[in-house]
Amino acid sequence: MFMTFSREKWREGGLLLPILLFLCIFFLIPLAGLLLRSLTEPTFGMQNFEQLLATSTYVQVLSNTFLVAALVTVISLVLGFPLAWCITLAPRGWGRWLLSIILLSMWTSLLARTYSWLVLLQTSGVINKVLMSIGLIDQPITMVHNLTGVIIGMSYIMIPFVVLPLQACMAAIDPMVLQAASICGAPARTVFFRVFLPLCKPGLFSGALMVFVMSLGYYVTPALLGGVQNMMLPEFIVQQIQTFLNWGLASASAALLIILTIVMFYFYLKVQTDSPVSTNTGA
């Protein structure tokens, strides 16, 4: 406030210079280079995209990526909903405990957790043993290096990302609205489906979009828990580069993934700003 306008402006430029330089040189230019490669390697044209969308194995990878992302989104919504509801309901202390379990699982090393699932789910692993001892199955079922493994491992990772926005949304709902509905004679079921669930919609939407976007781009968990049969896009990209040195095809898939991510994220931001939660809390 005590400086002339032009000097202030110059100072802001100076403050922003390091981050802008860094991101341009090491992030934006490499990213642009990668996207450009999808059009220029080996020759200029759309051949990489055509190949990607015409070869059945590659289409398989794409559809598998969407299948996994969709399944994981649905499962983490189904499991995350009661958890978020319970945190909202529970007395303060208990709610805190539940939240800290969620935060702990979110911030624990991804690799450590994935390794743990690898061990838990293996044929001679604890889960198979427990299932056999309670008589649910006679023979160990294969739960890793296939779709089941990926779905379990990924849903487990994504639940916190559903619970946190959903819980914030539920906490902002006025209980009086639900009470009003039941005073007017609505049975519990109707209150739930016609009043409570619609009010949770913004939280459900933003959680679901977040999980879907993140699932599309996940590498570590699908690579370790999945099999060759159900490869996902990120693993495909790395494989094309490291094993086949096929930068053109890898870049085309990367471009596809980026476009998908950014489009979905745009919707995510839309949902967020339109939600009653963010206007209520001023966030």
Binding site: L31, P82, I101, A112, V119
Partner: protein
């Protein structure tokens, strides 16, 4: 009958909700407890519950120079990443919070973009450049690529603490005769320090736990702990990985606690 207060909820609904929640919470906590327990188990084949408890996998971990070296590399990379990310994020946060220029929202989105773009794409893009420059497998490559993904966390944390700070206090110091820089160093900085500290911790944690980029940047000579874990995992499931995992978990827990204490302190 209200669905948002437990007192008036039907007991059937209430109890089934609590049972389901308990099961899901257990599902979330299970892998963490399991891995810690396994690291102390005696069985090579990861039998659970283990026949006996032992520290031999810890001995194996600490005796093996490769594990120790990769742990030291991780520490070095994470420290450098955290320092550099904080140093770059700090002035930018000042400019974004204090500045009155157009396009601040766009800049904010740009700075947090590395959080949205899938890590695998950042990894591949940076790898392409560093491969051409012959820089893969260097400390420089590790730190630079980690700073990219750690920056958003530092920026968000510092911006949040700066937003909460009342600028008129700093202006008061200037009116009393301090220069703007003195006022920032002596008045503003001590107040927002917990936020900066938390940002640095999160940047550290992001780097410490980063797998995908590190796997691309690594060389046989230089690898971080997650890379060593990754390559070992591809061969077998030895309990030494459980030890490495437990150490990773401990550090995450420690940093998370430190960050939440710093945040509570800054929100006072």
């Amino acid at each position: 009958m209200m669905l948002l207060s437990q007192g008036s909820m039907g007991w059937k609904l209430k109890s089934s909700l609590y049972v389901i929640t308990g099961a899901i919470a257990a599902f979330l906590a299970l892998p963490i407890f399991f891995i810690v327990a396994l690291s102390f188990g005696s069985s090579r084949w990861l039998v659970f519950p283990p026949p006996a408890w032992t520290l031999k996998w810890y001995e194996k971990f600490f005796e093996n120079p490769q594990w120790m070296e990769s742990a030291m590399t991780s520490l070095k990379v994470a420290l450098l990443t955290s320092i550099i990310a904080t140093l770059i994020a700090m002035p930018a946060s000042f400019a974004l919070v204090r500045g009155k220029f157009k396009g601040r929202d766009y800049l904010y989105s740009l700075f947090t973009l590395p959080m949205i773009v899938p890590v695998v794409i950042i990894a591949v893009a940076v790898y392409g450049v560093f491969l051409n420059l012959g820089l893969t497998g260097t400390l420089f490559a590790f730190v630079v690529s980690h700073v990219i993904v750690a920056l958003p966390f530092a920026v968000i944390s510092i911006i949040n603490s700066l937003r909460l700070f009342d600028k008129s206090i700093e202006d008061a110091a200037v009116i009393c005769g301090a220069s703007r820089l003195q006022a920032i160093i002596k008045v503003t900085f001590p107040v927002i320090k917990p936020g900066i500290f938390a940002g640095a911790l999160f940047a550290f944690l992001v780097s410490w736990d980063e797998v995908v980029i590190s796997v691309m940047m690594a060389s046989p000579e230089l690898q971080t702990l997650p890379v060593k874990m990754w390559s070992t995992l591809r061969q077998d499931l030895t309990p030494v990985i459980a030890v490495a995992s437990t150490l990773l978990i401990l550090l995450s827990l420690f940093i998370m606690t430190a960050a939440s204490i710093a945040r509570r302190y800054s929100n006072r």
